[in-house]
Every structure is written in C-alpha cells, then in structure tokens.
C-alpha cells in the first residue's frame, strides 16, 4: 500500500472514531462474539449439558448451576443463549457473504459489459427488490429438500438446516450490493488504468479481478455491514416461525418458538433472546452508518 492509500485509511479511521455510537457498537459486537464463544467453556465449568432434556427441572429459577434458570424441557438457558448466538451470528455472516458474492458478480457483470446484459441484470435486480420478501422466504424455507433429490438423511442433518437458511436469505438479499457495485464499476470502467489494461490485451476476467474489484471494495464493505443486521433479523424471524434453524440446535429466533408459553410461565426467558438480537442488529446498523459516513462524507 502506498503512502496516499495509508493516509486515506487514516482519515477514514479518524472520521469513524468521531462517531461515538459506532465505536461503542464495535465494542458491543465484540462482546457479543466473546459471549457466544464462551458457551462450551461455561458448560464445562458448570458441569452441565445444554442439549440434554431434564423434565424434572422445567422452568427452574436461576441457581448456582443454572445462572438464568432452565427452559421448558429443563435445559440451561444461559448456555443455550450462548450457543444460539454462535448460530445466529454465523448465519448472519455467512448469508451476508454469500449474498455479497452474488451481488458483486451481478454488479460487476452489469457494470463492466453494459448494454443488453446490464439491462437484463438490472431488471432482475429491480424485480427481486420489488418482491414481498418474508412470505417468499417462508415458501423457500418450506421446500422439501428430498424432492430436489437430496437424501432424507442429508436433508435432516444440522448442516443442511444451516446452509439452507444461509442460501435462501442470500438469494433474496444481494440486490443492494449489486446496485452499488454496478454504480462503482461504471465509475472506474473508463479510467485510464482499466483502458490501459484492456489495450494491452488483458482478458475481461483479469481486468475485473485485478483492476476493478479492488476499486469497488469499499462500497462493498459498507453495504455488507448494513446488510448483516437485516440478515440476522430475517434468520431470527424465520427460525421463530419454525422455518429456519430447527431445534435442538438453538438460535436466538427459535428459542422464542414457545413464546406464548414463556410469556405466562417465564417472562424473562421471552425477553433475553430478543434483547440479544436487538443489541446485535442495532450495533451492526450503527457500525454500518459510521462506516458509511467515514467512507463517503457526502452522504
């Protein structure tokens, strides 16, 4: 990285740091990651199994063994919240990344080639943006994988449950990144270094990868932070409705599956998972907002 680039990053960092909410939110997100990763150590320390049902201790109040009490089939609530965090955060990151790859590919192709391909891809993007996403996600999530030729055993495995939700969310949430990448690509497409590379016989793929992609990276980063929050919300609502992460694997969304029962029996347990989702999403949105201001002072 040359001097000018370093100075640019320093300037952005200085601008980002001035946004106190964004800086605090980075701290909150780090805390949430640490919290989630402590699941297994805490489980070992307390000598409990957060996946084993114990019907004799349903809805036990907090104790030295179960710091936040136990759930409807006697499992430790705190440790399940931590494991649920791993799942929810992992889905959020994975779906955002997969969506970013789709969006970047669409945006690059549309911006670089222009013309008919551009028109077609952008119509497609507009079409997807216009869809009622949540009802559509529910239909996607209800698809029976065995009818797609996947064996019943594989379809029921936890890994399939995880990737299926990642893929369906990514399939609907790549549009904002595609638009941004297209706009950024259009802006650099006619720059001298791109023309020089093309003139010296570089292939389209090479030009896109080595000359255009690095120059459109910053809007992608900003858009991704703004997408993570939305994706985590999608995961939580799908899991909550019973179409996402399937128990016994916990996620912050599916821990509220029996909210109706929790509300009357253990109200605190109806609050914790949602509070964690809320904290994660609002922190991610503050960070995204801060990044946007730091990277693009005009907006």
């Amino acid at each position: 990285m040359n001097g000018a680039a370093v100075a640019g990053w320093r300037l952005r960092w200085r601008r980002f740091r001035r946004n106190r909410a964004a800086v605090a939110s980075v701290g909150v997100l780090l805390l949430l990651v640490v919290f989630s990763l402590l699941a297994a150590p805490l489980e070992a320390m307390l000598g409990i199994d957060a996946f084993k049902a114990d019907l004799l201790s349903r809805f036990d109040p907090p104790s030295a063994e179960h710091w936040l009490g136990t759930d409807d089939i006697g499992r430790d609530v705190l440790v399940r919240l931590m494991y649920g965090g791993q799942v929810s955060l992992a889905v959020g990151l994975a779906a955002t990344l997969v969506g970013a790859v789709i969006g970047t590919a669409v945006g690059l192709l549309a911006g670089y080639y222009g013309g008919r391909l551009d028109a077609l891809l952008m119509r497609l993007t507009d079409g997807v943006i216009a869809l009622p996403l949540l009802p559509l996600l529910i239909v996607f999530a209800a698809v029976d994988l065995t009818k797609l030729g996947i064996s019943a055993e594989a379809a029921r495995s936890p890994a399939a449950g995880f990737w299926r939700i990642v893929v369906i969310i990514a399939l609907v949430d790549w549009t904002s990144i595609a638009r941004l990448v297209r706009a950024a690509t259009l802006a650099v497409r006619e720059r001298e270094f791109v023309l020089a590379a093309k003139g010296s016989g570089a292939g389209a793929l090479h030009v896109m990868r080595t000359h255009i992609l690095p120059n459109v990276a910053t809007p992608i980063i900003v858009a991704c932070t703004l997408t993570v929050g939305r994706v985590i919300l999608f995961e939580s609502v799908l899991s909550f409705l019973g179409f996402g992460i399937v128990p016994p694997m916990p996620s912050w969304g599916n821990m509220l599956n029996n909210a109706q029962e929790l509300i009357t029996v253990a109200p605190a347990q109806a609050i914790y998972p949602g509070l964690l989702i809320f904290a994660t999403v609002i922190a991610a949105n503050f960070v995204g907002d801060g990044l946007q201001d730091a990277f693009d002072p005009k907006s």
């Binding site: 119509r123 079409g127 216009a130 869809l131 009622p132 996403l133 949540l134 009802p135 559509l136 529910i138 239909v139 996607f140 209800a142 698809v143 029976d144 009818k147 797609l148 929050g229 919300l233 939580s236 609502v237 909550f240 409705l241 019973g242 969304g253 509220l256 909210a259 509300i263 009357t264 109200p267 109806a270 609050i271 998972p273 949602g274 509070l275 989702i277 809320f278 999403v281 609002i282 949105n285 503050f286 907002d289």
Partner: protein
C-alpha cells in the same frame, strides 16, 4: 406518458407471469401433495385409489402441463378451492385483504405522522437533543425484531397491566378497536424507523437549497417557509419511499398478524404454507407480489406528478 404506462404495465404482467411459475414450482416442492395428505388421513384408501385420484386431479402430469392448466383457469378467475377452509380461494382472500388493509393502513398513517413530526423537528436542529433521540428511535425501530416487539407489548399491556387483549379480532366496532391497538402499535414502531430517517435527511437537504435562503431573505414567515417551501419539496422522495414500502409493510404485517392472531393476508399465507394449502398459498403470494409491483409503479408516477422536472416518455 401513455406509452410509458403501457410499458410498465406490460413489465408487471411479465414479472407476474414469471413469479407465478416460480412460486408454482416452489409450492410443488413443499412436503407432501394434496392426495398423499388425504390418503394419510384415511386408512380406507388403497394405492390404486391414490393413483386414480392423482390422475383425476392431473397430479401425475409433468410440471409444465399442470402449470398451464392452473394458469388457464386462473386467467378466468378460477383459483380453485382452499383445502383447509373448504371454500373457494377467492372467498377466503377477500375478508383477509380487508383485515390487512385495516391493520397496515392504520399503521402506515400513524408511522407517517410520527415520522413527519420527528423528522422535521430533527432536521431543524441537527445534532440537538431531539435529533439524537429521534435518530436513536429510528435505529431502534429498524433494528427491533417485530415478533419480539410484539412479545414485549403483549407482556406489558396484556399480561402485566391487563389493559388490552393479547390476541384475536374482537366483536363489534369498539372491541375490534381495542384488539387493534397492540398490533397497530407493533407495526407502527417497526415501520416508523425508516420513515423518520428519510424525512430527516430529505428535509435537511432541502433546507440547504438556495431557494430556501431566498425565501427567508424575502421575509417569508417561518411557518410558511417550512410548510410551503421546504416540506412540499422534501416530501417528494418520502412519497416514493412510502410507496416502495408496500412490500415491507406486507412482510411486517405477516409477523404482526401471526403474533396477534389477526386474520389478515400475512397470517393467511403463513397458515396456508404451514397447512399445505397450495391453492391459497399460491394466490396469496401472487396477490402480495402484484400489490408490491403496483406500489412501485405508483411510486414512480407520484414522483413524476410531484416533481415537474421529471417526465416519463
């Protein structure tokens, strides 16, 4: 203009046709098919009966043929029967639309009112305490999981305080209004966040314009300056966003309706998918799509109508 409109309508028809095929295909991939479900609930049915019934309903035909049959019937407004409700799909959807319009319409009006008040107040003093509070509120509204917000409201106002019913539709006008309060509050908070941010940024941008300074220099009163000169122009992008939010409102309504057992379109689609009610799920989804597409078209038309600099040819 007529040509533009015709083009856009043609586009909507194409998207609807594509969507109907995609959703038809997806729904065919959902677990079980209607005859299998019927057979599972009735031990008297033999394997031959199942095959005969499938042939009778055309379920043994390839996807394209079945879709074509469905499409030709649908174009004559015959959408088939709802399996769960044992009624024509049309008769189930009608009342559901009405309920969603009540819920989503009220929430839209309320969230716009909140957004206008807070957005304008924030834009007048950027960085002030009201701006900070409004921006926090906006971020909270965007970031809160709708179902959890509903849980909190039920917990607070129905379980703890006992002021309002936790779910259901109520009977009679007065009771129905009582049943509407919590769902409308949920949906309003969830939608207002976006609007507050838009009104604020749009208003700030307009207030920086030269014509505002000119008007102020001419001695236009503060009230008139804000409402006639600034707000009218600031509202143009806001109107577009509101129309674009049709789809979002639908998604939000799905969760809210499910949480409060409000029998609108969202809950209907959700129940239809859960209950393998193919015909109903299909038409419900297509209706939601059509509504969203029309909302987008309205947004573009409103934009051109409000801003004379823009014209579509």
């Amino acid at each position: 203009m007529t040509r533009y409109l015709a083009g856009r309508l043609a586009e909507i028809v194409v998207v609807m046709a594509a969507m109907s095929f995609v959703i038809y295909g997806l729904i065919g991939l959902m677990p079980g098919d209607p005859i299998d479900i019927m057979a599972a609930g009735n031990p008297g049915i033999t394997a031959e009966d199942v095959a005969r019934l499938k042939a009778l309903y055309g379920l043994d035909q390839p996807l394209m043929t079945r879709y074509w049959h469905w499409l030709t019937a649908a174009l004559q407004l015959d959408f088939g029967y709802s399996r769960v409700h044992s009624q024509p799909v049309i008769d189930v959807i009608g009342p559901a639309i009405l309920q969603t319009v009540k819920l989503a319409g009220l929430s839209l009006v309320l969230s716009l009112a909140v957004a206008l008040a807070l957005g304008i107040a924030s834009a007048l003093r950027p960085g002030g305490w009201l701006d900070t509070a409004g921006s926090l509120l906006a971020f909270a509204g965007i970031s809160v999981p709708t179902f959890w917000l509903a849980i909190l409201l039920i917990l607070g106002f129905a379980v703890e305080l006992g002021w309002l019913p936790a779910s259901g539709m109520g009977e009679g006008a007065g009771d129905q209004i009582r049943h509407l309060i919590l769902p409308v509050a949920t949906l309003t908070i969830a939608t207002a966040g976006q609007f507050i941010r838009f009104v604020r940024s749009s208003m700030i941008e307009v207030l920086r314009m030269d014509y505002i300074r000119t008007a102020r220099a001419k001695g236009v009163g503060r009230r008139r300056l804000l409402l006639r000169h600034a707000l009218r122009n600031a509202l143009i992008p806001v109107v577009t966003v509101v129309a674009l939010q049709f789809g979002g409102l639908f998604s939000g309504a799905l969760v809210t309706e499910t949480m409060f057992a409000w029998r609108g379109m969202g809950k209907m689609i959700y129940d239809a998918v859960l209950g393998n009610d193919y015909n109903l799920a299909l038409v419900g989804l297509l209706f939601a799509t059509a509504l969203t597409l029309l909302g987008n078209l309205l947004a573009d038309l409103a934009y051109a109508w409000l801003d004379p600099r823009i014209s579509y040819r």
